[in-house]
Amino acid sequence: MTDEKAGTDEGANRMTGAEMVVRALVDNGVQHVFGYPGGAVLPIYDELFQQEEVEHILVRHEQGAGHAAEGYARSTGKAGVMLVTSGPGATNAVTALQDALMDSIPLVCISGQVPTTLIGSDAFQECDTVGITRPCTKHNWLVKNADDLPRIIHEAFRIATTGRPGPVVVDIPKDVQFAEGTYAPPSPVFEQKSYHPRTKGDGDQIRRAVELLANAERPVIYAGGGVINAGPRGSERLRELAALGGIPVTSTLMALGAYPASGENWLGMLGMHGTYEANMTMHGCDVMLCLGARFDDRITGRLDAFSPGSKKIHVDIDPSSINKTVRVDVPIIGDCASVLDDMVRLWRAGPGERGRTDVGPWWEKIDGWRARKSLAYKPNRDVIMPQYALERLHAATKDRDTYITTEVGQHQMWAAQFYGFEKPNRWMTSGGLGTMGYGLPAALGVQIAHRDSLVIDIAGDASVLMTMQEMSAAVQHEAPIKIFIMNNQYMGMVRQWQQLLHGNRLSHSYNESIPDFVKLAEAFGGVGIRAEKPDELDDAIAEMLAVDKPVLFDCRVANLANCFPMIPSGRAHNEMLLPDEASEQAIEQAIEADNRSLV
């Protein structure tokens, strides 16, 4: 006994694996963990019970824990943390892990595993967690010795949050959680020898990029999630550069808010459901600056007709994003904020305030495209148009401290088109994976991080049912999230594609028995509100905002509205389907089908 006390530090740092997990979380700045207990993580839960530094948020399904942690991460810029048990706990986390991988969200998942002695024996609640999660994580570990635990957890946080952020899994067998080892706090010098993300862009390439942009007659900035991931400085510099060069700015779904929607250079989102002006600007530009975006297929349209006449500059922290689908002329590997710092500095030193070219004629052309009003919709006095609902929601919430999450589908695209974002980290949506059910738990995560803010999940009636059980978690944790359900009783986007591609045969895209969302909210201990007519909407929204509890808002919108404008598959940016050209026929066809499917 006396021997042990001799080395005080050594003694204090001797602890069980489970204690180390909690200690390492605290040392990595973690304040909240989203999780669900089970046999293989009980030792860690026991440690959580005996401390107060880390708050545990109990969800109702591990997928919910993952999306909540994603929302938390996206809205704070910190890593989100989830804690799940072995077997089904880990497999339920897979959707959220892949979601975080595709949207580059820093997510640390700690999973319990059966004891090392039972691994491979098909034990109760055993699964090959590292095998299953290998392709859906940035990296993962199976920890076989308690002494390795602190190093691995610190590495996990570093890998999740640096370079191109992403999800990681640390799988910890139960006997390792019980075993004693020596804890070491995170070291400022990192031991990993094989992982070196580059953040500083190549000077010569940045100079070339600035020259190209400054001499462009028809420039455009195409911003992506990398600008948001680069932190607030990324968005600030983007705004500065756009102002310096008078450069029009469009962004992907992931980057909404990086440039303010009220900013004069803003074109709206680009891509399949982007604005006409954004897509035409991309198509007609002579120099494109792609910042932290990856030329996704929803963005480019037909690849061989994508922005045919432009020189392309691509800034990305991930070298594998460069030249993946679109060949670029000036590749710059680095962090968007760092590269933009350099670009703005060089621009000020060189081309100066106005650049070298007159972009006036280019803006005249863009204003012509803007005048096309591609987001116009037919107002309706009897039925709430989904676009109208979002305009009213925006009007009622834009002056508040608001965070928006969404599910996936038509409502998500309408939210992107109609809810104007002014700041980064205010918009949480599942872009790459397109995970229906993302928004409700993500809103929970955002609300936990921002207790006093207004958090709204703009939802669809089909998506929201996929993770509805997290209402229960929101009630338990007094997270007054507002679930604004655009209820059209269809899987609207599925139906839209069936109308466009499959002869209007609406195969299984109609939900026969949607629950009564008002009663459902009450059953969960929340508040239910319904709006059925346009003239009820403003009051109902005000009522929702006044409630300090989780709300399910059943907004009955036009059932058969479709999401336009749209680049149909196989078409280029300049071949958009505009609402006034296409919706009539599509809606007409849909009504017949409606008659067939409604009793």
């Binding site: 590292v130 290998r134 990296h139 199976l142 020898k193 349209g301 030249n323 598959s569």
Partner: protein, 190 residues
């Protein structure tokens, strides 16, 4: 009325490959830790890349580094993607496209060698012929009794292919190959 408005009938833009595929040999230096080979192989299967040959062994014991040699096939763009994607794997230290380096050095391709064991069963003239041909190919006899030989042959892939083809009618019963090991000429390390 049900006329399709879309030419492809798909939600995705399907483009055709226009560039022709090349065969490249990559050297990948990785931490020798559990699962690292699965990460590399999983990348190839998950992203639809080809593996013609793959060999792996620990080459630096003190540093616990293994060298994986992969022979793959793809358009220049795909090969560049494979390179970048491999570098994203956390325990990967370095990726070198030996074929590209060989060309930079003025060679047609890197030095590539493979070892094969070839079991041939037969009697009479066939047996004599097998031994004679093995000698011509500089294959070693590493096991034999009165009705079989096991040859060990080392060389370029084409030589081994040829040897196996020749042995086929002479009673070939079993082949085991190591896959390609490769490095570039000259004094420089990878």
């Amino acid at each position: 009325m049900n006329a399709q408005q879309q030419p492809t009938g798909s939600a995705y833009f399907i483009t055709r490959e226009t560039e022709s595929a090349e065969r490249h040999t990559l050297s990948v230096l990785v931490d020798n830790e559990p699962g690292v080979l699965a990460r590399v192989i999983g990348l190839f299967s998950g992203r639809g890349y080809n593996i013609d040959s793959l060999t792996v062994s620990e080459t630096e014991h003190d540093a616990h580094l293994s060298r994986i040699t992969i022979v793959t096939r793809g358009t220049p763009q795909v090969l560049y993607q494979i390179h970048s994607q491999l570098e994203r794997i956390v325990p990967v230290h370095r990726v070198v496209d030996l074929t590209v380096v060989a060309k930079d050095l003025g060679h047609e391709k890197p030095l590539e060698r493979e070892l094969a064991m070839v079991k041939v069963r037969g009697a009479g003239d066939d047996r004599v012929e097998a031994l004679r041909l093995a000698d011509a190919f500089r294959a070693q006899v590493i096991d034999a009794n009165k009705d079989h030989f096991i040859f060990e042959i080392t060389g370029r892939v084409s030589k081994i292919e040829q040897f196996i083809a020749i042995m086929q009618p002479l009673g070939l019963v079993e082949v085991c190959r190591t896959g390609v090991a490769a490095m570039n000429r000259g004094p420089e390390a990878m």
